[in-house]
């Protein structure tokens, strides 16, 4: 009974997350106005029929920009998580399975990278490279593959000790077969869950960089940079800050809830393994 209740929440959040992704895909079609069309005559206008969520400091439609920003924010986060998760997991699995000197070297490098607070390093890298979507992704991705490597490595090491791996070896499976046929699917749920919990974190990271002017290049719409641009008019046009903020918080919460629901459902423990 308990399990079905957990599953219900999982499906609800999964549906919400998919809905968000869908909305961001058709953002262009459902946006009422051109997100980049400026209008000096209609700066900081309150919500109206033409501009349902008002206009910003350059007279652009806030709703259209929030929708356009959804695509930037959600997809950049998803793509980055996918790349770092796959890269980190493969590195971690190889290190964990083969151990040896190479493992030692890679782990020391990971120790070194993890000695930096992730976001600090991202700010510095993005700051040096200059803004732009790709540079922001490089900056965030530089450090964010390491937890996957640690998680995958520690999971592989613990599974390697299980009797069924010994039994598979005695059944004549080669190392490669054991790694691909016996280990991968047993650590997949941990990695998937961890990746899901990271989507929100990466999204906040992007927004933070963009807020500092180190993210997307203007005028591309992104929630963090929209909030940053609109903060000068906080007193007169609070909606220009409020709506992208709500979109950001709501989206991050959905993905965080999804990650938690997934973890409860798959019953995996991650935090300590990824960090230590």
């Amino acid at each position: 009974m308990k399990k079905t209740k957990k599953s219900v929440w999982l499906y609800i959040f999964l549906a919400l997350a998919l809905a968000l992704i869908l909305i961001s895909l058709i953002a262009k079609e459902i946006a009422p106005n051109d997100p980049n069309a400026t209008n000096v005559l209609r700066v900081g206008e309150a919500p109206s029929a033409k501009f349902p969520l008002g206009t910003d400091s350059l007279g652009r439609c806030v709703l259209s920009r929030v929708l356009a920003g959804a695509k930037t924010s959600i997809f950049s986060a998803l793509v980055l998580v996918l790349i770092t998760a796959v890269f980190g997991s493969v590195v971690g699995m190889l290190c964990g399975y083969y151990s040896g000197i190479a493992d030692g070297i890679v782990m020391r490098i990971i120790d070194g990278i993890m000695a930096f607070p992730q976001m600090i390093l991202a700010i510095a890298v993005a700051g040096v490279l200059g803004g732009g979507m790709l540079n922001a992704m490089i900056a965030l991705g530089f450090a964010s593959w390491t937890p996957y490597a640690r998680l995958a490595r520690s999971r592989v090491i613990s599974i390697k000790r299980e009797e069924f791996i010994s039994a598979a070896g005695l059944s004549g499976c080669s190392d490669f077969e054991i790694l691909t046929k016996y280990i991968t699917h047993n650590i997949f749920s941990s990695l998937l869950t961890f990746a899901t919990t990271q989507v929100g974190t990466v999204m906040l990271g992007f927004a933070g960089l963009s807020f500092l002017g180190l993210g997307v290049k203007l005028p591309q719409a992104e929630w963090g940079s929209m909030i940053s641009e609109a903060r000068g008019m906080l007193a007169t046009a609070p909606w220009a800050v409020l709506y992208p903020a709500l979109a950001l918080v709501f989206t991050v919460m959905i993905f965080n809830y999804l990650g938690d629901a997934l973890r409860d459902r798959l019953d995996v423990r991650l935090e300590s393994e990824a960090k230590r």
Binding site: R108, I109, D111, G112, I113, A115, F116, P117, Q118, M119, I120, L121, I123, A124, V125, G127, V128, L129, G130, G200, L204, A207, G208, F211, L212, L214, G224, I227, S228, R231, L234, A235, P238, V241, A245, L248, V249, F250, V252, M253, N256, Y257, E271, S272, K275
Partner: protein, 309 residues
């Protein structure tokens, strides 16, 4: 214990090498000629002759490794180079700003601990009560609200709406209030979640049943056993959160114009003042490493089981 500390310090050496290497490389991943960038950031027109002189002065004619070694030796003596913008030693600039940053960071850390530990315990003890659900919703909210957004909301309510606090009040207690809250609340989300999970786990462990079977008062079990054993993971989380604290302060300081390292580095980024960015990264990393070493040692005080391996 001493032997363990020695071992941990030895393990820091490769980490230190990687930290410095990454930080040193930062300057060279930026597109363009470093000498030219230096001159532009100083506001000098880069003619061929000046460029050549600058290149020699920066040692750009030598191989990368030699430059790194020289710079590393300087770093060991506390020399992080000079700022392009005003020619002051970077270490001095950072040291001055660090005082300001640690003021905000420390007060935010203390505030979040004061809020999180009791609430986390309470939420765990009252598991699945209405209060627990409400609190859990708020921790989720706190985990999803970035500190820059929180800062803007606080400014909107307290400075624009209620007009009780100044937006930019450097060096005063009132000026510290909003940055502290903006920095602390998102961290509270993480702390409460962790404290709750840990206390729940401890409450479900065998020794709690054992103590109950011995008729020990539940409050005593909670305080002397559960809390004592939970400290282990709480300490670890505090160590890791220091990173988030510094990252948050970069954003917060640039919003509130607080003259700490965060503002320093944002200004440096704008003016392409690479030595300051480098110094900043190293500074924070070293602090982070030292704090995590300290939490590791604290861990051993609370859990005598941890062995040397």
């Amino acid at each position: 214990m001493l032997k363990y500390i020695g071992k941990r310090l030895l393990r820091l050496i490769p980490i230190l090498l990687i930290i410095t290497f990454v930080a040193f490389s930062l300057m060279y991943i930026a597109p363009g000629d470093p000498a030219q960038k230096k001159l532009i950031s100083k506001g000098i027109v880069p003619t061929e002759e000046v460029l050549k002189a600058t290149r020699e002065e920066m040692g750009l004619d030598k191989p990368f490794v030699v430059r790194y070694a020289g710079w590393f030796l300087g770093f060991l003596q506390g020399d992080l180079g000079k700022s392009y913008a005003n020619d002051r030693p970077v270490s001095k600039l950072l040291w001055e700003a660090m005082g300001k940053t640690s003021m905000v960071a420390a007060s935010a850390l203390i505030l979040s601990l004061i809020i999180s530990i009791p609430l986390g315990i309470w939420s765990a003890v009252r598991q699945n009560s209405v209060a627990d659900y409400v609190l859990r919703f708020f921790t989720f909210l706190a985990n999803a609200v970035p500190s820059f957004l929180l800062a803007l909301l606080l400014i909107y309510f307290f400075c624009i709406h209620l007009k009780v606090l100044p937006v930019l009040a450097k060096n005063s207690v009132e000026g510290l209030i909003l940055p502290t809250i903006a920095l602390a609340l998102p961290i509270c989300g993480k702390f409460i979640k962790q404290v709750r999970a840990e206390v729940l786990e401890q409450l479900g462990s065998d020794y709690v049943v054992g103590a109950q079977a011995r008729g020990v008062h539940s409050k005593i079990i909670l305080i002397r056993d559960v809390l004592h054993n939970s400290m282990l993971s709480i300490i670890t989380v505090v160590g890791f959160s220091v990173g988030a604290l510094f990252a948050g302060s970069v954003v917060i300081e640039s919003i509130f114009q607080w003259p700490g390292v965060g503002k320093l580095v944002m200004d440096a980024i704008t003016s392409r003042d690479y030595p300051v960015i480098q110094g900043f990264v190293i500074y924070i990393a070293v602090i982070y490493v030292v704090i995590n070493l300290a939490t590791d040692l604290a861990y051993r005080v609370f859990d005598p089981r941890v062995t040397d391996s």
